[in-house]
Symmetry: C2
């Protein structure tokens, strides 16, 4: 049995209808709504074939058919190039809002994930860049209090991270800028995770020159740098629109809804989910293709975002397998590209001056 032209037409019609209504599709519906020029009986025969081929199932013997994961897979593979080409105008327009309000990475990501979920009406995620892989450009200490100090780290990619340090001994305020300068000089070029014992030693040496009697607090400071900077927020996941699923008929069952919510609210499992996805620009995992059984009724659409040509994070949308793939794929693609642009604009070195 082969998937001839008419079968394809019927299959697509069934998928389209099911995506729309979430209701099993009968032969009459297809013959009426979609002009195929054949009677319901013929369609019934074809549907029976399609079921045998694994593209359709029946919830029960006397009901219409619903598409299987295999059907969605076929459907997505078919529309793939088309969906990728389709730039969503509305989406692009909305994304501009992010751009205008953008300044810190945090707010860019927060806004982006919100827009993605509002636009697709599904639960959306953004995995933030792993900071520990970022390269240090400059370090500035800002005195806050007698023994509290704000450590501002500017990365090579212009992302800024700040940590409040509480030290047991007071820091010599009058030398703070010199200390900052020394830290910058010694640490720029290193990744956060690179700061090891060796580097620490030479740093201590250098800092002693500035002020000998402040050794204690400086030592504490450097200690903090070497022990804590490497493990900065390994998996920071932004999510939005989790409660959107309550609007979907497939989650009218409260238990199902609860199960879904407790899965996606757990940032660890979501982070793992995105980690297991390979590094393709875009992926679509349908139903049982997902590694987590909790998502066997869901599809996951992911994309990456980059900086300087390197993938620094991922975005994704999770919805029911019965989702508007065309729309969601192009939305995720648009968002991914928009984020690339925005991050480029906001974090690219404008000039090569190293002071």
């Amino acid at each position: 049995m082969s998937l001839d032209k008419r079968k394809v037409k019927i299959l697509k019609a069934i998928i389209a209808s099911y995506i729309d209504n979430a209701e099993a599709v009968g032969s009459r519906t297809i013959s009426k709504k979609y002009e195929l020029g054949v009677s319901p009986a013929t369609i019934r025969n074809e549907m029976s074939d399609l079921e045998e081929m694994g593209f359709l199932t029946q919830p029960h013997t006397s009901s219409g058919r619903i598409p299987t994961d295999k059907a969605y897979r076929y459907y997505v593979d078919e529309l793939w190039t088309k969906a990728l080409g389709a730039q969503d105008k509305n989406m692009r327009q909305i994304i501009r809002i992010v751009d205008e309000e953008a300044n810190e990475l945090d707010s860019i990501l927060r806004n982006s994930v919100r827009i993605l979920s509002q636009f697709t009406k599904y639960t959306s995620f953004i995995v933030a860049p792993q900071l520990k892989k970022a390269v240090i450009k400059r370090i500035q200490l800002v005195p806050v209090d007698e023994n509290k100090i704000l450590l501002v780290i500017v990365m090579q990619n212009n992302i800024v991270k700040q940590v409040m340090l509480k030290l047991n001994k007071p820091i010599p305020f009058d030398q703070i800028d010199r200390i900052s300068a020394t830290l910058s000089k010694k640490l720029s070029g290193y990744m956060l995770e690179d700061i090891n014992a060796q580097l620490k030693e030479s740093l201590i040496q250098e800092l002693y020159h500035i002020r000998e009697n402040a050794g204690d607090s400086l030592f504490e400071l450097v200690n903090f740098l070497s022990t804590n900077l490497g493990k900065f927020e390994d998996l920071n996941v932004y999510s939005d629109g989790i409660t959107n699923i309550l609007n979907l008929p497939e989650y009218n069952d409260l238990d199902k809804a609860r199960e879904f919510i407790s899965f996606v609210e757990d940032k660890d499992s979501v982070a793992k989910l995105f980690q297991t996805e390979n590094e393709n620009d875009m992926t679509v995992s349908i139903g049982h293709e997902n590694s987590y059984k909790e998502l066997s009724d869901c599809s996951l659409i992911t994309a990456t975002y980059k900086f300087n040509g390197k993938i620094i994070g991922k975005i994704g949308v999770i919805g029911p397998t019965r989702m508007d793939y065309q729309k969601v794929i192009s939305a995720v693609k648009s968002m991914s590209e928009a984020m690339n642009e925005i991050i480029d604009q906001n974090f690219t070195e404008q000039d090569n001056n190293k002071e």
Copy 2:
């Protein structure tokens, strides 16, 4: 008809039972479970009286009674001092986690609201301090890029706020520390919302002394300060545990759940809700006492948190009117006090040195 001792006992028993089970309470249940030494018939008579007095209602003629808002109000007023006295041991223990991980205000608030919701099993909120009322202590500019600069503002209360500035003209890097010092000197002591045209003028004057040809970017910088600092995040609301309500029998109805969720997910209305609450240390609004009709089946318990004796923000829990008031009130109280301590420890000036 007066609320004699036995009526009170019965009323409390009914409330306790209803809080437990969410099911209308019958006379037999009361007479069995709670030792009152009287027959169901007697209790029926008393219940009838209590209904007449407005403390109970019947969902339908042949069902048990459920407490009215008035009953909860009476109940809460009765246990008020007791609940306030009860420090929850578990709660205090959990709160320590916040304390240990505390450094930035943001993470303190985020952790606190999470703990509050996990502990009470209800939706919890924290309204962040209004930054525009905070007094500036120090300003530090951190160069990031040719024409991008991080503005770090340390407040008198040691809260730190940073904004990334994108300027059209490059900033003179070599004078950045002098500019920072000047900004600090001129602006410290003012509130963010105080920075007006007058102050702006004198600031510009002073900065020109540093570097005349950099006037454009300095002007831009000062302009930004005066126009944007005053309107910093007027109503930053943290929330957690919104989906907890899906576990409550009263929200088995998906439409009700959706209505609730869409209300509490709207930070604006939540912020307004907390604004309308007066400045008492603790408030309890039961059912229709709430200003929003969306919350007429809910109770809101709020408390404040302070810094230097001044209220700087609010916390609150929203649950069904049938909530364990005793537990929630003491949890909110404990959290409020814990936050006071934590904020005190983290943000109090350790020393009076002004450099």
